[in-house]
Amino acid sequence: MSVVTGNTAASATPAKSLAQRINWVKLAPWLYTIGLFVLWELLVIVLQTPPTILPAPSRVFQAIVQYWSPIWKNSLQTLYTTTVGFAIAVVAGLAIGLFIGWSKAIYAGLYPLMIGFNAIPKVALVPILVIWFGIGAVPAILTAFLISFFPIVVNVATGLATIEPETEDVLRALGAKKLDIMLKVGIPRSMPYFFGSLKVAITLAFVGSVVSETVASNYGLGNMMSSAQSQFNVPLVFAGLLMLAVEGIAMYALMAWIERRMTGWAHRSTMSQ
């Protein structure tokens, strides 16, 4: 008996090879990203596509280095218009969401209006914004705001509108006013919806600002890409897209982090361990 157990113990310890010590799940996003670029590069080599149609990633990175100064400035500009528009959307979305969720009558009256408004493609509003505010940062900020505030409103209002009737009964029987119920139950319970919607809203905000910059601005990644396109500088267009993707992922990660920090109780399965 003792010989057998000694044997298994001895063979178990050194067996952990390099492949087992690596945390593949943590590494996976990086590996897949690298894989995508490798595949892309191979595709370009095999199909021999000219860089004016589909530049290889190596050409795109080369363009990033070559045009680093304008890319850097325009990226910051886009990040600025997006975050300002997004910040306004957060404040306005929270306020309007609370207002709409407040009563059934307001909800019923304003909701169709909101849907109709959201159905309008925001790119169609850019010309109007240009007439009102001229070209530049203001229409970009406003487009980012207009496109990203809707999911915030809907989510906050939903959080408020779905309070369990029993909870409301218990509190109302104690003499709670509408304001009490909103403050004690409605608002805290809509917070997970709110923070969840920020992840959707921030990516939409990038769509808004870039659309507006493309049509009506002399700055920003949208403008940079459209002028690069007119000069057939396709690698630079792709460099712009890559920067947008990087900014989008970074902001999304920030929102996801804020969500986890603020509403840990809603992710109870991970917290109870």
């Binding site: 029987a173 104690l174 009490d180 004690k184 109780w265 109870s272």
Partner: protein, 262 residues
């Protein structure tokens, strides 16, 4: 015996003149300190009864009198507990239990200054229901039975004169349910609170109550009133006596025939 709750010939219709009549000609009286149970076929207006007594609904005709006052708005001397514990997941169990104190007029202005006293009271209640030391846990870290115990604490924290229970043990397993029967039995004995328990479980009603009201199918009214003869304090063993089973059997028969009529 003075009556804490008097319901006299009450009609309650939902959704306007053509809506469903939930209760009709409902009359019942519950004495101060009494433990009353309401049983009946499903859809007999038991939940309507809860809402009428707590003032969440005002009847179209007839009067509801609670503590010598006609009910025209929510009465804050009531504590309520439902089958769904409805604990707020972002608050600790202790903060959940303290919630009614943030609402009820006579406590909300004193809460901040006398926090310590109230917390002690909440912890004492937790101890009574067997949840000592769980106050700092979040409700979702507790089992269903523990949440329901905490729910009872929340219903009792503002020292209500009347406790309204709507099938509070319906979702629990048989053993947990029996444990909680004993908890509520002891609370009733110790605090002298009047309790109205709405339930589908006839054994539960017979074990806990002093008086049982049998309701008809919709529109609900009281068909029969039973006085439960078993002496207090009752032990769970009482449920295995013949008299107990006979009573449950009789109640069962009455509800079965009320269902057929509907």
């Amino acid at each position: 015996m003075s009556h804490l709750v008097t319901i006299d010939n009450v009609d309650m219709r939902y959704g306007g003149a053509a809506g469903t009549l939930a209760v009709s000609g409902l009359t019942m009286k519950v004495g101060k300190g009494e433990f009353a149970a309401v049983v009946g076929p499903s859809g007999c207006g038991k939940s309507t009864l809860m809402k009428l007594v707590t003032g969440l609904h005002i009847p179209q005709s007839g009067v509801v009198i609670v503590a010598d006052k006609q009910v025209t708005k929510p009465v804050s001397i009531v504590g309520m507990a439902f089958q769904n514990p409805t604990m707020l997941p972002w608050r600790t169990t202790l903060d959940n239990i303290l919630l009614p104190l943030e609402i009820v007029e006579r406590h909300r202005h004193r809460l901040r200054a006398n926090k310590k006293e109230y917390v002690e009271k909440a912890e004492h209640l937790l101890e009574t229901v067997g949840l000592k030391g769980f106050g700092s846990k979040f409700p979702w870290q507790l089992s269903g039975g523990m949440q329901q115990r905490a729910n009872l604490c929340r219903a009792l924290i503002h020292e209500p004169e009347l406790l309204m229970l709507d099938e509070p043990f319906g979702a629990l397993d048989a053993f947990t349910r029996e444990e909680l029967w004993c908890v509520i039995r002891d609370l009733h004995a110790a605090q002298g609170v009047t309790i109205v328990l709405v339930t589908h479980d006839l054994r539960e009603a017979t074990f806990l109550a002093d008086r049982i009201f049998v309701m008809s199918a919709r529109p609900g009214k009281v068909l029969k009133e039973h006085t439960v003869p078993f002496a207090r304090p009752r032990d769970l063993e009482v449920m295995y006596e013949k008299a107990f089973n006979d009573m449950v059997h009789e109640l069962h028969g009455e509800i079965a025939s009320a269902r057929v009529v509907a």
